[in-house]
């Protein structure tokens, strides 16, 4: 029951996020990170990735995290994304999927390999969205390209690519329902209707910002880049409005 409850909270946090602004809620709710995150909390565990390793920490006693697992994943682990009892790891050679066993142990399930490049991953129950970037990716090998790949994960044992799109220098990405936000660094931010993976529809393009990662929060989009933190109201996708900006540096 406890496990179910904490899982529910995670889902709740993912789906709607707390709009309460009167202070931090003291319960078990977790916050939201971007797609470039290397820390994530699922149930009573904190999972982190560094360059080569997936770590887990038992936080059932919240004040005293206890290190549990350190799993060697291989070279170039960049990001971690949790969904429905799974962990999606974005690495330079592909996407790794781990299943979380009832005791919190991550168990390797499957992987989708792509050409060596730089990439984070986000997912919903049906599809995973992976950006591959060669621009400014020292590790990228010859033949790699700037791409957004959509991978069918309905059969979690056998992830399979369903579509691939050329995008200029894609960095972080975010998903809210069928709306997909993709950061393009200095080239801005593109917003897609992703309901048909074979036919991604661009619904908006914010070209005048430097966007590295996004957090969509139920109509409010946080965008971070090297120059600023920007916030946009995307409740009307046909009319995305800037809400505020916090300058960085200078």
């Amino acid at each position: 029951m406890l496990r179910f409850l904490s899982f529910f909270f995670i889902l709740f946090a993912l789906a709607s996020c707390a709009k309460d602004s009167s202070g931090l809620s003291p319960g078990q709710s977790t916050g939201l990170g971007g797609s470039l995150a290397r820390f994530t909390i699922v149930g009573n565990f904190l999972y982190t990735v560094d360059n080569t390793t997936l770590h887990s920490f038992d936080i059932s006693d919240p004040a005293h995290p206890a290190q549990r697992h350190s799993i060697d994943v291989g070279q170039g682990v960049e990001t971690i994304f949790p969904l429905n009892g799974l962990l999606f790891l974005g690495t330079q050679s592909g996407m790794h999927i781990f299943q979380l066993l009832p005791d919190g142990t991550p168990k390797f399930l499957s992987r989708y390999d792509h050409i060596i490049s730089c990439d984070p991953v986000v997912a919903n129950a049906q599809y995973a969205y992976v950006t591959l970037r060669v621009s400014g990716c020292r590790q990228a090998v010859a033949g790699a390209a700037d791409l957004l790949e959509i991978i069918d994960i309905a059969n979690i044992q056998q992830p399979a690519i369903v579509a691939s799109y050329d995008l200029e220098s894609p960095y972080g990405l975010g998903l809210d329902g069928q709306t997909l936000f993709v950061c393009l660094g200095a080239a801005g931010l593109k917003v897609f209707n992703a309901s048909d993976p074979q036919n991604l529809q661009q619904v908006a393009y914010l070209s005048d910002i430097n966007a590295v990662d996004v957090i969509p929060i139920d109509g409010l989009l946080l965008v971070v880049g090297p120059d600023s933190i920007q916030q946009y109201d995307y409740t009307d996708l046909g009319n995305i409005k800037k809400v505020s900006e916090i300058a960085i540096g200078a």
Partner: protein, 171 residues
């Protein structure tokens, strides 16, 4: 002489051509002198180099690379207000559940009580939870661009992820 020049040219061909990118994710040295384990709540300060955001309950937690976390009160998204700063040397990522913030403090994992957001409190520390982030040299297993260490900046205690502008070092 001609032979010598030819030999040089051939030598040159051995070097891999590298295009320095304008903007790229990579590692930057963490400079620090003093006690890097000292966690402290501090007044708001300018945001200088940002990499990651975390959002919870109307607050934005904005990571100042290698230095700590800016706390921004975002209860009115049209008017975000900097509320304070948590000094966590070597920090590169965080996650929060309830009132407990988990962060890396260089190579350690720390748990902080943030129920009083202006005076956070260290609850516990897992030492050397992330050994690969330590050391004065770029981590052995790292391949990519990094910011060249500047000896005038002090002692390098570790490395953290950054968005780098035209980095001059790589491997």
């Amino acid at each position: 002489m001609l032979l010598f020049a030819l030999a040089l040219a051939q030598q040159g061909c051995v070097w891999e051509k590298v295009d320095i990118p304008e903007q790229v994710a990579g590692l930057a040295p963490i400079y620090f002198e003093g006690d890097w384990k000292a966690i402290a709540s501090e007044p708001p300060r300018p945001i200088e180099r940002l990499y990651k955001l975390y959002y919870k309950d109307g607050y934005i937690f904005a990571g100042e690379s290698q230095q700590g976390i800016h706390i921004i009160d975002n209860s009115d998204p049209a008017r975000p207000v900097k509320r304070g700063f948590i000094r966590i040397i070597g920090n590169s990522d965080i996650a929060i559940r309830g009132n407990v913030l988990y962060a890396n403090n260089l190579t350690d994992l720390v748990a902080l009580d943030i129920s009083a957001i202006d005076s956070v409190r260290l609850l516990s520390r897992v030492e050397n939870a992330f050994p690969s982030l330590s050391g004065s040299d770029v981590p052995d297993d790292y391949v990519g661009f990094f910011e060249c260490p500047d000896p005038n900046m002090g002692v390098v205690v570790g490395w953290s992820e950054q968005i780098l502008k035209e980095p001059q070092c790589w491997r």
